[in-house]
């Protein structure tokens, strides 16, 4: 499947190896998606560059109100991190929902973004947190909003034969903010999501200042439900305003009929249910802060 396997000790070394292979080498972190693609599809690589041993990528850090998660950090680590549970709850919830304990112990949050599946649990949460990815190349590092990393279903704009996403970062949630993650699937584990919803609400006294509402898979990329978000801007917090936002999200969502995920009709109705539940929980969490 591949001819060479290397484990560089630094990002610089990893980038040099990628350059020397001129597009024939590929980054691997946890490999829970990549190995399947290499086993089952025409996707090939001559060399796998394993960044899992690079210490600098294994950190969850907080710095001046921003949280940064390195590319080597697994879903398990994010799910059990006290910092993430407290200040980015939606991401801890999403990371706990991925696959299974075995997958969570190996798979990484950054990898979940780069697999470019529209409903990837942690990517949906990161979008609600308005996260950015840190993309490193030989000529420098740039920051790209997560939502700009999608070329198509399963196709990331990041070229993992030439660039390395070294981490993702976002603002930690403040005491006037709450977040929540809701997942609908046929089983409680080892099941692809029929629907994932992530929300972050910012409140002031008895009002919603603003909300970020992400729904997936209802489009080729995780979908920010801006129509629903607008309903909550400057609106009093009430069951009625939450209901209206949930209805707006359902109206905007265009899921397709899917043998794997469920019918369009059912899932459109469930968007309303999940968004309502997520908004209620996020609001409650904001209140408790």
């Amino acid at each position: 499947m591949w001819e060479e396997y290397v484990s560089p000790r630094s990002i610089k070394e990893a980038l040099e190896i990628l350059q020397s292979y001129k597009g024939q080498a590929r980054i691997i972190a946890g490999g829970t998606d990549l190995i399947l693609e290499l086993k089952e599809q025409p996707r090939k690589a001559k060399c796998l560059v394993d960044i899992g041993e690079i210490e600098a990528l294994k950190q969850i850090e907080q710095d001046e109100g921003h949280i940064r998660i390195g590319a080597g950090v697994t879903h398990s680590q994010v799910a059990s991190s006290m910092l993430i549970q407290k200040e980015a709850t939606v991401l801890a919830d999403a990371a706990s929902a991925v696959g299974s304990p075995q997958i969570r112990n190996q798979g990484t949050v950054v990898g979940n973004v780069l697999s470019a599946q529209p409903a990837a649990d942690t990517a949906v949460a990161l979008l609600a947190l308005e996260a950015e990815a840190e993309v490193a190349t030989a000529s420098g590092t740039r920051f790209v909003p997560i939502e700009d990393l999608y070329e198509g279903i399963g196709i990331s704009k990041v070229n993992s034969t030439a660039e390395i996403v070294t981490g993702v970062r976002f603002k930690s949630l403040g005491s006037n903010q709450g977040s929540a993650f809701e997942r609908l699937a046929q089983r409680k584990a080892l099941a692809l999501p029929m629907l994932n919803v992530a929300v972050v609400v910012t409140t002031r006294e008895c009002q919603f200042e603003e909300a970020k509402i992400v729904v997936a898979p209802v489009a080729p990329t995780p979908f920010r439900s801006k129509g629903a978000e607008v309903v909550l801007q400057g609106t009093p917090i009430s069951p009625e305003s939450i209901k209206q936002a949930a209805e707006a999200a359902a109206a905007e969502a265009q899921p397709r009929d899917s043998a794997l995920r469920g019918s369009a009709e059912y899932r459109k109705k469930m968007v309303k249910v999940l968004v309502k539940r997520a908004l209620e929980q996020a609001t409650e969490r904001a209140r408790q802060q």
Binding site: S100, N105, L190
Partner: protein
């Protein structure tokens, strides 16, 4: 490209195996080291039959490149008993009738061990979550969950 010398600790012993760079961990364990207690069922990391413990964490060995285990500790089902004396988890599985065809059992036992090593007194829900990556087509899981809870009791004595 040539073979690499993979060094790792397997069931407490240092091993060195010459492997092709594209070898998958389960194949090294089964074919090179004869540890055929590690079962391959789905080959996609979606059933847990191939579960081993890597540096203390349960993982699906059928989707892990063998090279990822370089310098690490691997525990397979063969590493649980001590000179034929069964581990309390293994005893509990037998006593509770938690084994039918046995194909999921090595993975189940190892997921249970990974749980109990970290959380010696889990709730039933915590046991279910810990086993949620291991599928069983025979038992309906009830006796398996009972066995893990019984093992927790045994191990605390």
């Amino acid at each position: 490209m040539g073979k690499h010398l993979l060094t790792m600790t397997v069931n407490g012993e240092t091993v060195e195996v010459a492997v092709e760079p594209s070898t998958i961990l389960i194949d090294v364990l089964r074919d090179e080291l004869g540890l055929i207690g590690v079962k391959e069922a789905c080959g996609r990391g979606e059933c847990g039959a191939c579960t081993v413990i890597l540096d203390g964490e349960s993982v699906s060995s059928c989707i892990i490149p063998a090279m990822k285990a370089m310098g690490k500790e691997v525990l397979t089902i063969e590493g649980l008993d001590k000179q034929g004396k069964l581990h309390p988890i293994q005893e509990a599985f037998i006593e509770c009738g938690a084994i039918q065809c046995g194909f999921c059992t090595p993975g189940m036992v190892l997921s249970a061990k990974a749980l109990l090593d970290e959380n010696p007194n889990p709730t039933e829900q915590e046991v279910r979550v810990a086993l949620s990556g291991n599928l069983c087509r025979c038992t309906g899981y009830v006796k398996i969950v009972d066995a893990v809870l019984a093992a927790a009791q045994k191990m605390q004595k």
